[in-house]
């Protein structure tokens, strides 16, 4: 068996426990079915491209991106735990190279990101099926967003895990950064209508781009803005992946 596949197998085994799966399903369900309906009283409809979406449909699709981001935290956690529990060195004195270790993390978060996206799509489908407009671009757009988003956020989590030395520091930084990504984005609410500073800040956040591309795929709306967002997402993922790889390669043993 290929060494990368063996490492991915190991990564999935150590990361996927019942707690993680429940967290990955229950947390978005609460947002979709509780916040989604509760906020309908305040936000009736949300404009998206040439369409108007019901808020539950809007937040359910936002949750797909949010869940992809959340699940990629696992990449940082794997690296952090491997360093903390001595497995990083142990793997590197085994039949593996650093490049294989790094790639195995990318594949792991890619798989988890895709599965998370599929899971939330299935769960949220009853809420947005009326407004869904599947076309030839739907699957490519959602898969592109899932993979680039996973790599981008996985790289951010990896960078954080290589720079910090204490558990407390790792938890504080990763939670703060991901909290910012989650709430200063268009995952939960539209940019239109928000104060100008905030709506500008939304576009300094890669989750906004990820969520917009997912929505574009699901609601069949593709224009120049979505294409630009895809390019930004792709470049961001590539740059951050290179930075994460460089930092991991230089990690002292």
């Amino acid at each position: 068996m290929n060494p990368i596949i063996r490492l991915v197998n190991r990564n999935l085994t150590i990361s996927l426990n019942m707690g993680f799966v429940i967290w990955q399903i229950v947390f978005p369900l609460i947002y979709i079915f509780v916040a989604g309906f509760a906020y309908t009283a305040l936000i009736h409809q949300v404009p998206f491209g040439n369409k108007t979406l019901d808020y539950p449909a809007f937040i359910a699709t936002g949750m797909i991106g949010f869940n992809i981001m959340n699940s990629t935290l696992i990449s940082g956690v794997i690296i952090w735990n491997d360093r903390r529990h001595g497995m990083f060195e142990q793997i590197l004195v085994g039949p593996f190279t650093r490049a294989q270790y790094i790639l195995s993390n990318v594949y792991t978060i890619g798989i988890i990101g895709l599965v998370s996206a599929a899971m939330i799509t299935a769960v949220g489908y009853p809420l947005f099926f009326k407004q869904v407009e599947f076309n030839v671009l739907t699957v490519p757009l959602v898969v592109f967003a899932s993979i680039t988003g996973s790599i981008l956020f996985g790289s951010i989590a990896s960078i954080i895990s290589t720079r910090l030395k204490s558990s407390e520091g790792f938890n504080v930084v990763i939670n703060t950064v991901f909290l910012f990504f989650a709430f200063v984005s268009t995952a939960f609410y539209p940019a239109q209508g928000a104060p100008p500073i905030l709506s500008t800040a939304f576009y300094f956040n890669p989750l906004t781009y990820l969520v917009d591309v997912v929505r574009a795929g699901i609601f069949g709306y593709f224009n120049g803005m979505v294409a630009t967002e895809m390019i930004v997402l792709g470049i961001g993922a590539a740059v951050l992946f290179l930075v994460a790889t460089k930092l991991l390669s230089k990690l002292e043993l």
Partner: protein, 316 residues
């Protein structure tokens, strides 16, 4: 072909030289002990030999393969038990062994059998379902060492593998290792417990301040450096005995309250003859007599002390 062959190997961090031009040859199928005080350069050497860090200069050949050119080829043929704990907290003991075997691409059927063998050999059967996070330090160490035997290898590096183990687990591990060496495995072993090195190792190197200061078999090291011996003489009376023996040269003596004289001397045979002559001529009965052999620990302390003194002497 040697298991390990190292020439002028050095590792520096800025101005600090952790390992300073060491030469080593480890024969295949032997257990090689690598001893040294804290900070002597043992772990840095181990990290270079296991290809975890590159040397600053020098040559390394592991199992006949150039370690600088082909580190991955070497890593496929060696096993390493690091000094620091390494474990996956969420996995159970048996799952840890099984997954480690999978990572080494060991066939599923062989993995299954090895897990059972190692659980028994390392006394892990009762805790096989326990998660690594819930184990004691000693149990975790046993799992870490056991896990390394999930895969085949030609050379095993053990960096203080018995730390945290109780005496019976420690002896069990040493005997298990001895058994593996009979099957042809070469072992590079560091430890602070010198009785272990004496019990286990065919050859020993002592490193201090980054330099190898002695290499030989434990017996030869004793012959070379273990000239001072300790003699214990139990006598029937002790009145005025110190005044009778104090004139004997080349020794130091201690008299305890119960009639035991302890003599330290590098000329033990001559000193013993002189003592026995004086005791006989004064009609003092010798009830018991023993010569305590030099332990490896004494050799180690003496060699390291000499090395420190020569490093600190003027002109060095």
């Amino acid at each position: 072909m040697y298991g390990i062959e190292v020439n002028s190997l050095s590792k520096s961090y800025g101005n600090f030289t952790a390992v300073d031009g060491i030469d080593l040859k480890v024969e295949q199928g032997k257990i090689f002990g690598f001893l040294g005080p804290n900070g002597a350069g043992k772990t840095t050497t181990m990290k270079m030999l296991t290809t975890l860090i590159p040397p600053s200069s020098g040559k390394m050949s592991i199992l006949g393969i150039d370690a600088i050119k082909s580190p991955l080829e070497i890593r496929k043929k060696i096993g390493v038990v690091l000094q620091q704990p390494s474990y996956e907290p969420t996995l159970s003991v048996e799952k840890s062994l099984e997954k480690y075997g999978m990572m080494w691409n060991v066939d599923k059927k062989i993995r299954k059998n090895r897990v059972e063998e190692l659980l028994v050999a390392f006394d892990l059967v009762d805790i096989r379902k326990k998660k690594n996070d819930d184990l004691s330090i000693g149990q975790r160490r046993r799992v870490q060492v056991a896990r390394e035997f999930m895969h085949d290898m030609d050379l095993l590096f053990l960096d203080e593998p018995t730390v945290g183990l109780d005496p019976s687990a420690r002896r069990g591990l040493l005997d298990f290792i001895k058994g593996k060496v009979k099957d042809g495995l070469t072992i590079f072993f560091t430890t602070h417990i010198l009785e272990e090195a004496e019990y286990l190792c065919d050859d020993i190197a002592i490193i201090n301040k980054g330099k190898i200061i002695a290499v030989d078999t434990p017996d030869e090291l004793k012959n070379k450096f273990g000239r001072q011996k300790t003699i214990k003489i139990h006598v029937g009376q002790q009145e005025n005995i110190s005044s009778l023996l104090d004139g004997i040269p080349d020794c130091t003596m201690e008299y305890d309250t119960g009639c035991i004289i302890t003599v330290h001397s590098s000329q033990s045979e001559q000193v013993l003859q002189d003592i026995l002559k004086i005791l006989a001529s004064n009609h003092i009965l010798v009830e018991d007599l023993s010569v305590v052999p030099t332990s490896l620990e004494e050799i180690f302390l003496s060699v390291v002390k000499n090395s420190n003194e020569s490093n600190n002497s003027p002109g060095q």
